[in-house]
Amino acid sequence: MSLRRFIVKRLLAIIPILFGVSIITFGLVHLTPGDPVQQILALNPRAGPTEKQQLREQFGLAAPIWEQYLNWMKGVFTGDFGEVYRSRRAVSEVIYSRLPETLLLGLFGWVFGLVIAIPTGIYAAVHKDQLGDTVSRFVALSGISIPNFWLGLMLILIGSLTLGWWPVTAPKRAPLLSFDMLWYLILPGLTIGTAAASSIMRVMRTSMAEEMNKEYVTAARAKGLPERTVVLKHVLRNSLISVVTLAATLTASIVAGSVIIEQVFAWPGLGQTFIQAIRNAEYNLIMAITLFTGVFIILANLVADILYAALDPRIRYD
């Protein structure tokens, strides 16, 4: 009951946050030099001031900026995010068509990160300061330090050019769930997953090693429990709390963080669309993607908060 109230409260809190996000983004977008009308008409030397004005009015860019914002807001409340100026497609449609690619890529990277990081982190903590720990820490530190676009380029270099196992860019016009696409997904997925795995592993190791020194661990051993039970039952659950926090923030990279990686691998996802939208000053598209990312991050954090309570009985929301 109290949990339901907590969730409702948190969901309501999204509204003011999104208001803030939208105002800032809207302001920034309009502050950047060059508007869509100028960009579109630059290709047409014969276009004069009348054509310009006409287009402005058609795109809703003629009104004062506060009125534009209110108009945009009105649209959002009715589920209308406007349209892409050039193609006249609805923004929501563009997002829906690109979203699965981005989500799948992010999810792959995220799951890959967790699957690698949690067992490695446990191993490193149990064998603290031994060879395996030192090696895994070195690898994790490298994973964090290497810029992911560079890692991506190296993977292409090795995987596509040297080994020839992958095409150089994402296959065009292949449906997402085809073998070609899923096979190609591995490269950008690994790139995203490496960074995620590195940071999760480090947090897992640190928090686990810290828990291992607590007295309840000695008490559990004094009960005669096998070391496996001591570590995987008693220590693990206590150390997962900080990992959940990190994993939740990392889900944000599913949507927002893959922008560069999608560019490197020409992955047809939301990140690429976002960069194009910025380049083309597609105001409506930028706004919608930003809002969507915001909602996603907030929801991920909400899930993390709920997981805390599930892991640690001392945390209760009421």
Binding site: E215, G224, N238, P313
Partner: protein
């Protein structure tokens, strides 16, 4: 055969500052059902001794040598599986700070039931019923309701009771109590001690009680070992230790106990502090703080001697021994102190007053 025989136990900790000799050549034994006290200041090696009995010394600590025979079997030469079948089952431990010894994310009941399910192969529901019985036995009201409570929902005293229930769950033959009441306030302390004593009686369990509190020893124990700097300095039956302490350190400890009706303003203390275990002073480790120390004390390290004959305690059967050169005749002076026994009919703890130039 004694229940537990510790022989020449030596435990070192390898730290960056050097090797800490936490326990040095320790020998003692505990009979079945006996209540054995271990007293000493912090850093005397009491807790390390306790953890050694279960072979729970963790790196950087290492059990160097010695034998720990439990029911005649050497714990130190057992396989890991064999030791595990003894831990929590035949030797159990009551920890000092129940709050940290309980895992915060599992219910108290589950943590108690865990050992029984592991050692006694109880089913989930059997273990639960047994746990509820135990909780009631250690004095937790509404035990059935409390079974699924988490540690943070228990008060400090109740947490300690839960730890006791956990230790008793598999009906151990030896119960190690490591400062079981230090974290509690005085009123609860008395109750918990009573509880431990009567439960030990009921379960016919031997106790090794570790404490720095002589009052607790007086209340519960049959025999006492006083430790200093990782070594035993005096072993005696509890009455004799209180009425007739033989080692200057014991004397110092006794006179540090404040007494009701005392007119002195300052609490008596032993001057100086425990020596650094990395670099123990030569000879008797206590000599820098000992009021009776002579040159001889800086030269040779005394072993435990029978206080009557002065013969090494390891060679003659004795129940009162002290590690002081005074008993081997190597000192020119006498241990100059006297014990006055104050027979107070209201208190059942022996109240002795020690005077002398031990300051």
């Amino acid at each position: 055969m004694a229940l537990l025989e510790v022989e020449d136990l030596t435990v070192n900790f390898y730290t960056q500052d050097g090797t800490v000799n936490a326990v040095d050549n320790l020998t003692y034994s505990i009979e079945r059902g006996e209540k054995f006290g271990v007293v000493g200041e912090s850093g005397a090696g009491k807790s390390v001794t306790a953890l050694s009995l279960m072979r729970l010394i963790d790196s950087p600590g290492h059990i160097e040598s010695g034998e720990i025979r439990f029911k005649g079997q050497d714990i130190l030469s057992m396989s890991e599986d064999e030791v595990r079948s003894i831990r929590g089952n035949e030797i159990a431990m009551i920890f000092q700070d129940a709050q940290t010894a309980l895992n915060p994310v599992y219910s108290v009941g589950e943590q108690i039931a865990e050992a029984m399910r592991h050692h006694l192969d109880y089913s989930k529901s059997e273990a639960k019923e047994e746990t509820i019985d135990l909780l009631a036995k250690v004095g937790i009201p509404e035990a059935r309701k409390r079974y699924s409570d988490y540690p943070h929902e228990f008060s400090g005293g109740m947490q300690q009771r839960a730890i006791i229930a956990m230790a008793l769950s598999c009906d151990p033959d030896l119960l190690i109590c490591d400062e079981p009441t230090t974290a509690l306030d005085v009123t609860i302390e008395a109750k918990i001690l009573e509880e431990i004593e009567s439960l030990a009686e009921e379960f016919d369990t031997a106790i090794q009680l570790i404490t720095h509190d002589l009052g607790v020893i007086a209340e519960i124990c049959d025999r006492v070992m006083v430790m200093y700097g990782g070594k035993p300095v005096e072993k005696a039956p509890v009455e004799e230790l209180f009425y007739d302490p033989k080692h200057p350190y014991t004397v110092g400890l006794m006179s540090s106990i404040p007494r009701i009706g005392d007119s002195t303003d300052r609490l008596q203390t032993i001057p100086g502090k425990m020596p650094d275990l990395v670099e123990l002073p030569p000879g008797c480790s206590f000599h820098p703080r000992c009021p009776y120390a002579e040159e001889a004390c800086t030269l040779s390290e005394p072993e435990l001697l029978d206080t009557k004959t002065g013969k090494p305690a390891s060679e003659v059967g004795t129940n009162h021994s002290a590690a002081c050169l005074a008993y081997s005749g190597d000192l020119t002076g006498e241990l100059d102190y006297s014990v006055t026994v104050n027979e107070d009919s209201k208190s059942n703890a022996p109240a002795s007053q020690i005077t002398g130039d031990n300051q």
